[in-house]
C-alpha cells in the first residue's frame, strides 16, 4: 500500500499543480457570494497576501467590470463581451449584473490593487503602487511591506516603500524602529504625515521621549514643506482668478478705456462668445465627432468674429449717435444688453447649456503632495497672457492701432490728418467686442454658460478697468492680477462673501484717493 501511494505521489503533485490556477480563481466566486462586510475582509486579506494571478480580478473590480449571472457565477466584462472570471470559456446563464461597490470597498480595492502591483515587473508600476500605499497601507500589510523593502532593487521604489512602511511602524513596539520611522517621515511633504506626527507629540500616545523630540523636529520640517505648497497654491489660484478677470475686462479696456463708451453690453459680448463656443461644440458633435477634443481652438476665431461683427453693428447703428453723451450711452447699452439676453433666451432657452471640457482640459498635474494644478486653469492663464500680447501688438504695432490711439487722443486733429475717424471707431469697437468674445470662450470652460453669464462679470470688468486707470492696458493687467490675488488671500481668512465686500470697500477708498486709477496717462492730451 505505502509503495503504491508513493508511486502515485508524482501524479498527485502534477494534478495539484494543474489545479493551482483554479484554486486562485475561486476568489472571484468567493467575492461574488460574500456580503459587503465579508467582501471587505476578503480584500484586506488579499492586500496582505498579494498573488500575481489575482491581479486581473482586482483590476476588473477596480474598473467596475466584475459581474455575476443568475447562478452567482462571476464574469468579467471585456470590450467584446463576457469572460468567466474563473477561467475557461463558460458563458453566463443570464445577462450578468454588475457587482455594486460602496466607497469603503472601493478604497480597499485600491489598496489591494496597489499591493498586487508591487509584484509587477515594471519599476514605474511598482513606484505608483508604493505611492498609493503611502496613503492607504493597512497594519496587516506590515509584513508584506517589510519583505518588499528588503527585496526591492529599484532605489526610487524602495524609498517610496520605506515611507509607506514608516507610516505603519509608528506604532511598532520597538522605540528604535519608531524613531527611524519618525525621522523618515520628516523627509516628506505629505499632509497626512503631519497628522500622524502630531498624534505622537502626546506623551500618552508616545511614551519614549526621544521619539517625541524627533517627532517634533520632523513635524516642523513637514509643516515647512506644507506651507510652501499652500502659498504656491494660493498664488496660483490668485493668478488664475486674475487671468479670468483680465479676460473678462480686456475687451472693456478698449471699448470703455480707449473709446470712452460706457459699455453696459460688454458682459453680453462675453456671453455671446461663450454661446459661440457652445454652437461650435454642437457642430463638432454632429459633423466631426472624432475631432471633438479640438473644438475650443476652432471656437476662438468663431467667437472673435461673431462678437466683433455684432459689436461693429451695434457701434454703427446705436452707439455712434451717442458719442459725447455718456448718460444716454449708458442707458442705451443697458437696453441693448437686456435685448441680447432676451434674444439668447428665446433662441437657446433660459436654462444653462452644456459646454463640456475636452479631455486635455480636465484633470490636473500633482506638483507637490498638497498642490494640484488643474490643466484648464493653466491653459487659461497662458491664454490670457497671449490675448494681452496680441492686443498690445495690435494697438502699438499696427496702422489700425496707431489710428485708434490718434483718434482717442485728439479726434479733430486725427480727422484733419485724414484718419477716417468713423471707420476707426467702428473697428476699435469691433476689436474690443471680439476680445470680449475670446474671453467668453475661456469662461465657458470653467463656469456655467447661460443667458445671465455676462451679468456676473460686468461689475468685475468695470472694477478692473477703473482701478487700472482708464485708457491703460498695462493698468488693466496689473489691476486684474492684483484683484485676483487680493481676493484669494482674503477668501480663506474671512470667507467668499465678506472677502468680496471688503475688496469693494478697498477699491472705493482707493478711487477716492486716486481717481485716475493705478496708471494714468501723462501729458496734456487728457481732457
Amino acid at each position: 500500500m505505502p509503495t503504491a501511494l508513493l508511486r502515485l505521489f508524482p501524479i498527485f503533485t502534477l494534478l495539484l499543480s494543474l489545479l493551482a490556477p483554479h484554486a486562485q480563481a475561486g476568489d472571484a466566486a468567493d467575492f461574488v457570494a460574500a456580503n459587503p462586510a465579508k467582501q471587505a475582509t476578503l480584500l484586506e486579506t488579499w492586500s496582505a497576501h498579494p498573488d500575481a494571478a489575482r491581479l486581473p480580478l482586482i483590476e476588473a473590480l477596480q474598473k467596475g467590470r466584475l459581474a455575476s449571472d443568475s447562478n452567482k457565477a462571476p464574469f468579467i466584462q471585456t470590450d467584446t463581451g463576457w469572460q468567466a472570471a474563473e477561467g475557461g470559456d463558460a458563458q453566463p446563464a443570464s445577462e450578468p449584473k454588475k457587482l455594486p461597490l460602496n466607497n469603503r470597498l472601493r478604497g480597499l480595492v485600491g489598496t489591494a490593487q496597489a499591493s498586487h502591483q508591487l509584484l509587477a515587473k515594471e519599476p514605474a508600476v511598482r513606484l505608483a503602487a508604493a505611492q498609493q500605499l503611502q496613503k492607504s497601507a493597512k497594519p496587516a500589510q506590515l509584513q508584506l511591506l517589510n519583505a518588499r523593502v528588503a527585496s526591492e532593487d529599484d532605489d526610487a521604489v524602495r524609498d517610496a516603500l520605506s515611507l509607506a512602511l514608516a507610516n505603519l511602524q509608528l506604532i511598532d513596539p520597538d522605540p528604535a524602529i519608531r524613531l527611524a520611522a519618525v525621522r523618515l517621515l520628516g523627509e516628506t511633504g505629505d499632509p497626512l504625515a503631519r497628522t500622524r506626527l502630531e498624534t505622537l507629540l502626546d506623551p500618552a500616545v508616545e511614551t519614549d521621549a526621544g521619539v517625541r523630540t524627533a517627532a517634533e523636529t520632523s513635524l516642523a520640517q513637514v509643516k515647512r514643506r506644507l506651507l510652501m505648497g499652500e502659498l504656491l497654491g494660493q498664488a496660483f489660484s490668485g493668478l488664475s482668478l486674475g487671468s479670468i478677470l483680465l479676460l473678462a475686462a480686456l475687451g472693456l479696456a478698449i471699448t470703455f478705456g480707449l473709446l470712452g463708451v460706457i459699455n453696459m453690453a460688454h458682459g453680453e459680448m462675453l456671453m455671446l462668445g461663450a454661446y459661440s463656443t457652445y454652437m461650435v461644440q454642437i457642430l463638432f458633435q454632429r459633423f466631426a465627432p472624432d475631432a471633438l477634443a479640438l473644438y475650443p481652438l476652432v471656437a476662438l476665431p468663431v467667437a472673435f468674429f461673431v462678437t466683433a461683427a455684432i459689436g461693429m453693428a451695434l457701434e454703427r447703428t446705436v452707439i455712434r449717435h451717442l458719442y459725447g453723451r455718456p448718460l444716454e450711452t449708458l442707458l442705451a447699452t443697458w437696453g441693448i444688453s437686456l435685448i441680447l439676453i432676451q434674444l439668447v433666451r428665446v433662441l437657446f432657452g433660459a436654462q444653462n447649456v452644456e459646454v463640456a471640457n475636452p479631455a486635455w482640459l480636465s484633470g490636473g498635474v500633482q506638483v507637490l503632495p498638497n498642490l494640484v494644478l488643474p490643466y484648464s486653469r493653466m491653459v487659461i492663464i497662458g491664454f490670457a497672457l497671449f490675448v494681452v500680447v496680441l492686443t498690445w501688438l495690435l494697438l502699438n504695432k499696427t496702422r489700425l492701432g496707431l489710428n485708434v490711439r490718434a483718434v482717442t487722443q485728439n479726434r479733430n486733429m486725427a480727422a484733419c490728418c485724414g484718419v477716417p475717424t468713423g471707420r476707426v471707431d467702428m473697428l476699435a469697437f469691433g476689436l474690443g467686442s471680439g476680445i470680449a468674445g475670446l474671453g467668453g470662450v475661456a469662461l465657458s470652460q470653467i463656469g456655467n454658460v447661460g443667458p445671465d453669464l455676462g451679468q456676473s462679470y460686468i461689475i468685475d470688468s468695470f472694477l478692473v478697468v477703473v482701478l487700472g486707470g482708464v485708457g491703460q492696458l498695462a493698468g488693466s493687467v496689473m489691476a486684474a492680477f492684483g484683484l485676483g490675488i487680493a481676493n484669494k488671500i482674503l477668501e480663506p481668512q474671512i470667507g467668499a462673501v465678506l472677502g468680496k465686500i471688503l475688496i469693494l470697500a478697498l477699491i472705493i477708498l482707493f478711487i477716492q484717493k486716486r481717481p485716475q486709477g493705478l496708471f494714468a496717462l501723462k501729458g496734456r492730451v487728457i481732457d
Binding site: P36, N103, G107, K135, P191, N352, S362, G363, K500
Partner: protein, 422 residues
C-alpha cells in the same frame, strides 16, 4: 437728428421682447386654475425648470383621466426668475388676479419664506416639493419634500457608519441662505450629540451663483488631511457645476473624501462628466434608478412626455426626487379635491390629512394627519459613471417627518400641528 426715433424704436423692440415673458392663459369654459411658480431663468433654473415641466405632465395626465370634479385643470405658469421678492409678487398675482385654486412651486427656502406671508394672508394653498430645513409648519403649505430627519440626519449617520467610511471630521459647505444655514445648525448640534468636537467641523458659505471653488476645494483637502473627512454640501443651483468640476480637477476622490449633497440629483448632474465623481453621494427620498413597476411607468411616461414636447436635451431626460415630489403632490391634491368635492382651501386641507398615493419610490406615500408633511423613506445613492445613482443604503420604510428638529433648542415646545407663522 435721427437719434430720438431710433431710441424709441429700441424701446419699442425691447418692450415687445419683454412681453414674451408674460404668461398666457387658455380660454376655456369650466376649468380649475392651477398655479406653477418655478424659476425658469437665473441661477435656480437648472433645478426648477424640470419641476415646471413635470407639473405640466402631471396635469396633462389628470386631465386625460377626466380632470378633477369633472373639470379640466388649467395650468398658469409664471417665471419668478430666481428673484426672491419677485416670487412674492408672482404669488400675489396668481392668487388675486388668476385666482388659482392651488400653487405648486418654489425650490429654495428663501423663495418659500418670501411667498409664505402672501399665502397665509390670502389663505392660498402651496405645495412645496423640495427637501428643506424644517422649522416651519404653515396651514397654507403642504411639504412634499423631506424634513431634516428624512434626509440630512440619516445621511450623516450613514457617513459615520463603517460602510459610509467612518467619517470623523465634517466640512459643511453651502450656499449662503436660510436652508444651508439652518440645516448646518441642526447638523452641528447633531454632531455634538455624537461626540464630534467643534474643531472637527468646518462651515463655509458661498454666494448664489458662485463659480470659483479653487480655494474652497484646496481648503477641503487641507482639512481632510486631519482625519477621515466627509463633505456635506448644501450648495444650490448652478454653482454645483463648477464645484464638482473643481473637485474632479483637483483629484478629490470619493474613497478618500466623500461628498454628500442634499440638493444635487440626476437633473443637476446632466451636463457634468460624472466619471471623476463616481462614489460621491446624495441623500434623497427617491432616485430614478429605484426598481419597481410604478417607477418604471413614471420614468417612461416622463421620457415620452419630454420627447413629445421636444424639451431641451430630451434624449437625456431624467427624473429626480423633487420631480417625484411634485408628481405625488399634484396627484394627492387632486384626490383631496375629489374627496372634498370642492377646491375650497379649508375643505381641501382637511381632506389632505391621511391622503394616500402609490408613489414611484416604491411605497404608498401617506400625508401625515397633522403635520402637513409626507412620511418618506430615506435613501443614500452613489453617483455612477452614467450620471445615475446606485442606492447603497435605505431605511426600512417611510419615516415620519419632524419639521421641528429636536436638535434646535426650544423646538420641543412647538405644537405638532400647523399654525400660521405671523
Amino acid at each position: 437728428m435721427k437719434r430720438r426715433p431710433f431710441l424709441k424704436a429700441t424701446l419699442a423692440a425691447s418692450t415687445l421682447l419683454l412681453s414674451g415673458l408674460f404668461p398666457y392663459t387658455l380660454q376655456a369654459a369650466e376649468t380649475i386654475k392651477v398655479g406653477i411658480l418655478h424659476s425658469l431663468s437665473g441661477t435656480m433654473a437648472i433645478s426648477e425648470t424640470s419641476l415646471k415641466d413635470m407639473a405640466l405632465m402631471t396635469i396633462d395626465e389628470i386631465n386625460a383621466k377626466g380632470g378633477v370634479l369633472g373639470k379640466k385643470l388649467e395650468p398658469v405658469v409664471v417665471d419668478p426668475a430666481s428673484n426672491w421678492p419677485l416670487f412674492a409678487e408672482k404669488a400675489r398675482q396668481l392668487l388675486t388676479q388668476d385666482k388659482v385654486a392651488v400653487t405648486f412651486g418654489c425650490w429654495t427656502s428663501v423663495s418659500r419664506k418670501s411667498v409664505l406671508p402672501v399665502y397665509e394672508e390670502l389663505n392660498g394653498l402651496l405645495f412645496y416639493p423640495v427637501q428643506y430645513e424644517g422649522e416651519e409648519m404653515s396651514p397654507n403649505v403642504f411639504y412634499t419634500g423631506a424634513a431634516p430627519n428624512q434626509q440630512a440626519i440619516p445621511a450623516v449617520e450613514y457617513l459615520m457608519s463603517e460602510d459610509g467610511g467612518a467619517a470623523k471630521r465634517f466640512f459643511l459647505l453651502g450656499t449662503d441662505y436660510v436652508y444651508p444655514r439652518t440645516t448646518n445648525k441642526i447638523l452641528r448640534s447633531f454632531l455634538h450629540s455624537k461626540g464630534v468636537a467643534d474643531k472637527d467641523i468646518e462651515e463655509v458659505y458661498t454666494p448664489f451663483g458662485h463659480s470659483d471653488y479653487q480655494t474652497i476645494v484646496a481648503n477641503i483637502k487641507k482639512f481632510a488631511a486631519g482625519g477621515k473627512t466627509a463633505v456635506i454640501s448644501t450648495v444650490n443651483g448652478d454653482s454645483n457645476v463648477p464645484f464638482y468640476k473643481e473637485l474632479g480637477n483637483q483629484g478629490i476622490e470619493a474613497t478618500e473624501t466623500p461628498v454628500v449633497a442634499f440638493s444635487v440629483g440626476e437633473e443637476e448632474l446632466r451636463g457634468i462628466d460624472t466619471k471623476p465623481l463616481v462614489g460621491q453621494l446624495a441623500a434623497w427620498n427617491y432616485f430614478q434608478s429605484v426598481d419597481n413597476p410604478t417607477n418604471k411607468k413614471f420614468v417612461d411616461s416622463w421620457k415620452a412626455y419630454a420627447k413629445a414636447k421636444n424639451l431641451p436635451n430630451y434624449q437625456t431626460a431624467v427624473t429626480n426626487d423633487p420631480m417625484e415630489a411634485t408628481y405625488v403632490g399634484i396627484n394627492m391634491w387632486a384626490q383631496a379635491v375629489n374627496k372634498a368635492g370642492t377646491t375650497d382651501v379649508d375643505k381641501v386641507r382637511e381632506a389632505m390629512a391621511g391622503q394616500e398615493f402609490v408613489s414611484p419610490d416604491g411605497y404608498t406615500m401617506v400625508m401625515d394627519k397633522t403635520n402637513h408633511h409626507l412620511h418618506k423613506p430615506v435613501m443614500i445613492g452613489e453617483v455612477q459613471d452614467n450620471g445615475q445613482f446606485n442606492v447603497v443604503w435605505q431605511t426600512e420604510g417611510p419615516v415620519r417627518a419632524q419639521p421641528w428638529s429636536p436638535y434646535i433648542p426650544g423646538n420641543d415646545k412647538k405644537p405638532d400641528y400647523a399654525v400660521k407663522s405671523n
